[in-house]
Amino acid sequence: MISDSDNASISKPDLSVNVGGIRMKNPVTTASGTFGFGPEYAPYIDLNRLGAIVVKGTTLEPRAGNPTPRLVETPAGVLNSIGLQNPGVEHFIDEALPYLAGFDVPVIVNISGDTLEDYAGLAARLSRAGGVAGLEVNISCPNVKKGGMQFGGDPAMAAEVTRAVKENSELPVVVKLSPNVTSIAAVAEKVAEAGADAISLINTLLGMSVDIKTRRPILGNTMGGLSGPAVRPVAVRMVWQVYQAVKLPIIGMGGIATAADALEFILAGATAVAIGTANFVNPRATIDVLEGIEKYLSENGVGDIKELIGAAHG
């Protein structure tokens, strides 16, 4: 109708974003644990088109993971209890990083631990490894020294983890918040004070499912994490609240399946978005979201994605 869109088609919109020092050519990245270490999706998409790759959660030592079943489908969602199965950080550095180095995409390593020392050790080790663009700190893990309460469930503990990582690394640090809290803003504030460079959210909502035939929980680990489209309204709300609470860039995720979903997060305040469970349904989901965002910008005459970040706050 108006010539805005014609103008836009002349010069491609600017999609680049900067997430706390991680420079992404576009805002689309992957959610840890849903995209393996990268090669799994290489037959389906050109990894070079991604804004960043966030890899499967890594721990200091290898982890076998939880007993099966590890996954159960729920309405518009899935519950998973993978249990951080991974080959350990050394194996990751030796085997997975070299592959990823072959792409022109920032690699963000998701790290998990049971103690502050675990996080500190991982941060130090990965900073020396080279080829890592940033760390994503998963604080949804139980703190074994404090009786298993989640680091992410307590603002003070979340801040401690953040400090432990920052003190041991020069890399940009993204702290990934757990949604299972009374006040996500309170956690975000403490994490920001502790020096985080960015915040990502949401991790999975704690849930469970019971098998009415066996009359026992379905998941081998009883409880699991809920993800997928079902959780999207909760995730958008938390991005909105965190955007109002702190000045840090946000990587938004939780149920994003389409460009429209991704734009909800960006308008609510996310600088970048991560695609998780949707990869399982559509192996090309990341690229479909990226192309849909480009189309929206062109059609609406938006020259720079950054104009949309937080725009819904009015």
Binding site: E40, P43, K56, V72, A76, V78, G228
Partner: protein
């Protein structure tokens, strides 16, 4: 030629109550598919049910570029699949996974199936027939009515022995019992210590977990190598999510989780940690 395709439904019909066969136009699949591999199939078009469903490749026609699926209506996903009609499009990912090892040619091949487990084995038997290999097939089903593809398998030149749980056809009892009876009464089968004959036999199986575990014991006892196709709840189907874990024994007496979707669905029965 992508591994993710929207394939047109050529036909989708009920073969016996509760079991359907769907033929899809998918030349990219027929070209590459090997027996034992599966497709990850989107059964609906909305977020519920959310995940794809793994369905084995039941047969391929490389000439027409059509792939067949044989499936049991087990729940919400497969009932939506059963509602598809000719001309509809179905999103598929695949072929995925590691299939059965195609025998070298001089082995005596045994195939054991339980229920819908015949689905991937039929494709395998097609390929064997193409290679001129005649297999001995033990097929179990709940009732005579539920013996799927029995005639087609005979037409391929294989011998078929049938067991039904309710005794309405041939052997009354489980297919593993039928198979063990056969081993005991037949001279081709190597007993423990049958020496040279050992490499002459190879078995392939798909069916319910309990049946496969039983079969694994039997084949181990008789020293017959056995490949089993396993099921586990899947997320991605491509190796990324680690949900389809299967415990596999390591040399040192320990065990490690393998992915049914990538390292499987076919495993050597001896390496599976049955529990």
């Amino acid at each position: 030629m992508s591994l993710v395709t929207d394939a047109k439904v050529i036909q989708n019909k009920q073969v016996i109550p509760g079991y359907y066969r769907m033929d899809l136009a998918a030349p990219s699949v027929t070209e590459r598919a090997r027996p034992g591999q599966f497709l990850h199939v989107r059964c609906g078009s909305t977020h519920d049910p959310l995940l794809r469903r793994p369905i084995s490749i039941n047969a391929v026609d490389r000439r027409t570029g059509e792939v067949s699926l044989l499936y049991r209506v087990a729940g919400r996903g497969t009932s939506l699949l059963a509602g598809h009609r000719s001309g509809d499009m179905v999103s598929i990912v695949g072929p995925l996974g590691r299939g059965f090892t195609i025998p070298e040619g001089n082995e005596k091949v045994i195939v054991v199936s339980g229920g819908i487990g015949i689905a991937p084995l039929y494709f395998f038997l097609q390929e064997l027939a193409g290679l001129g290999i005649k297999a001995t097939v033990f097929q179990g089903a709940a009732t005579s009515q539920q013996v799927l593809l029995g005639n087609e398998i005979k037409e391929l030149g294989h011998s078929v022995f049938i067991a039904t749980d309710d005794g309405t056809r041939d052997f009354h009892g489980s297919v593993t019992t039928l198979f063990e009876n056969y081993l005991q009464n037949s001279d081709f089968a190597p007993g423990p210590g049958a020496g040279e004959n050992l490499i002459m036999n190879k078995s392939y199986a798909c069916g319910p977990h309990g049946m496969l575990r039983k079969l694994s014991e039997i084949t181990a006892r008789w020293g017959i190598p056995c490949e089993v196709s396993l099921e586990e709840r899947m997320g991605c189907g491509v190796g990324a999510c680690l949900s389809c874990a299967c415990k596999v024994k390591t040399g040192d007496g320990g065990s490690v989780y393998h992915r049914v979707c990538v390292e499987g669905p076919v495993f050597q029965s001896g390496e599976v940690s049955w529990e």
